[in-house]
Symmetry: C2
């Protein structure tokens, strides 16, 4: 049985706030060894002072961007799918205008894995329980409409279920499948946190087998390396690059 | 509080088996109005007789494919990302060799939304409770390693959370975000079903607000239409198409 609930009593978070203290108070003595605390990146960003003026939105997205993956204009609205400094591919580099004070936007935490490690170590020390921490963001997907919450930071929790050495029910090795349990936990927690509510932290109980040392590989390990990424560029962008190269090649053949 | 558990007592499923009867028996009288029953597509495929000989794997994938999105060869292993008849983009068209009898592979259900509707209507009638049904498959993602379970069929449950008309905690309209709760529920359920176990059905309790008429839009509505899909073709494939077109264009300019 998996149980998931949102923590009540997390106040509005401001720059400099101690998240371990805020989450620790909201938890009281409710946490047990093996629980996983799922924290919306928005409050991590707020505590880290990652708020900037909304008027600087386009510049902020550019500053956060390492590589533009795809751009689409539609009815006057420009969507930029970009890879950010963390390697993550997302719309607008995760720059977010919802649930922020009027006139401001939020950037993602600088290093969500480090944020998760600090929260996990702090909560373990304060509460005396071995918990895992996942920091989440709401991400769009290729090929599918809508968004799901995914893990952008993790500490003290295995982000993949390691099925190596295990067999299926017929006794054959499970080689290809590597469930990204961190993303599944992030998605599960979104079902109780919601988008319109002020419930930025949830607890997932029932997968203590996934909880381990604080320094397990973080969510950075979920990001697919560029050289393995078949969708490292949008179809229109890749076509345009190819077209230009093809035209140059034909021209140099003729010359 | 969200509660998720796997149903014990679902036997090995064979062609022609009545899933409503198998799941209904395993549920006993444990279901309540608003519960969501999450069914691994594998047992739907088995009941529908979608098993073929493993030796026909490549031909089966080709037969299931409407459009090749990307192909990658790596150490003698060819991965085909394709769009299938349902519009879904996935590796190998969802053709699956795990947890199937030796020498066989499974194709996806012909129409998972229809399968979900039949199971939902059957369980509602048999058990007298208004439940939703989601049929799941394990899908890879662009940009991120590993897989998560996603909804490929749905009935009696809203696949998107409708935030239109709602506001964020600052009172501003939530316009862009459209959480795909069906995929989030599929992922959550995978956390109790597992891949190596014989637990193909889970129950999610605590989001009764998402349950409605059996004929709500199904998981087909999650598939992004091609004209809105920035990643409708792999980067290498789009580049190659562009290169050929660029070369032709330069050649005709010269001629």
């Amino acid at each position: 049985m998996l149980q998931i609930w949102a923590l009540e009593g997390i106040p509005e978070v401001a720059e400099g706030d101690d998240l371990v203290d805020l989450i620790g108070r909201a938890c009281g003595d409710s946490l047990r060894d093996g629980d996983i605390v799922v924290v919306t990146s928005k409050i991590v960003s707020k505590a880290e002072g990652r708020m900037v003026a909304a008027s600087d939105r386009e510049d902020a997205i550019t500053a956060e961007t390492v590589r533009v993956v795809a751009t689409r204009e539609s009815s006057g609205h420009r969507t930029r799918i970009v890879q950010n400094k963390l390697g993550m591919v997302s719309a607008a580099a995760g720059v977010d205008a919802s649930n922020t004070p009027e006139g401001t936007i939020l950037l993602l935490p600088v290093d969500p894995d480090a944020s998760a490690r600090a929260i996990a170590a702090g909560l373990r020390s304060r509460l005396g329980v071995e918990i895992g921490v996942i920091v989440t963001d709401t991400l769009g997907r290729a090929w599918r409409e809508g968004q799901t919450d995914s893990a952008i930071g993790a500490a003290g929790v295995h982000v993949f279920e390691d099925l190596r050495g295990q067999t299926d029910a017929e006794g054959r090795p499970l080689v290809v499948t590597m469930p990204c349990v961190a993303d599944e936990i992030a998605s599960a927690a979104d079902l109780v946190k919601g988008k319109a509510s002020k419930l930025p932290v949830a607890v997932v109980r029932g997968r203590a087998d996934l909880v381990g040392p604080v320094d397990l590989p973080g969510a950075r390990s979920i990001v697919r390396p560029l050289e393995r990424d078949m969708f490292r560029l949008g179809a229109d962008e890749a076509y345009a690059d190819g077209f230009a190269a093809g035209a140059r090649s034909a021209a140099s053949d003729t010359a």
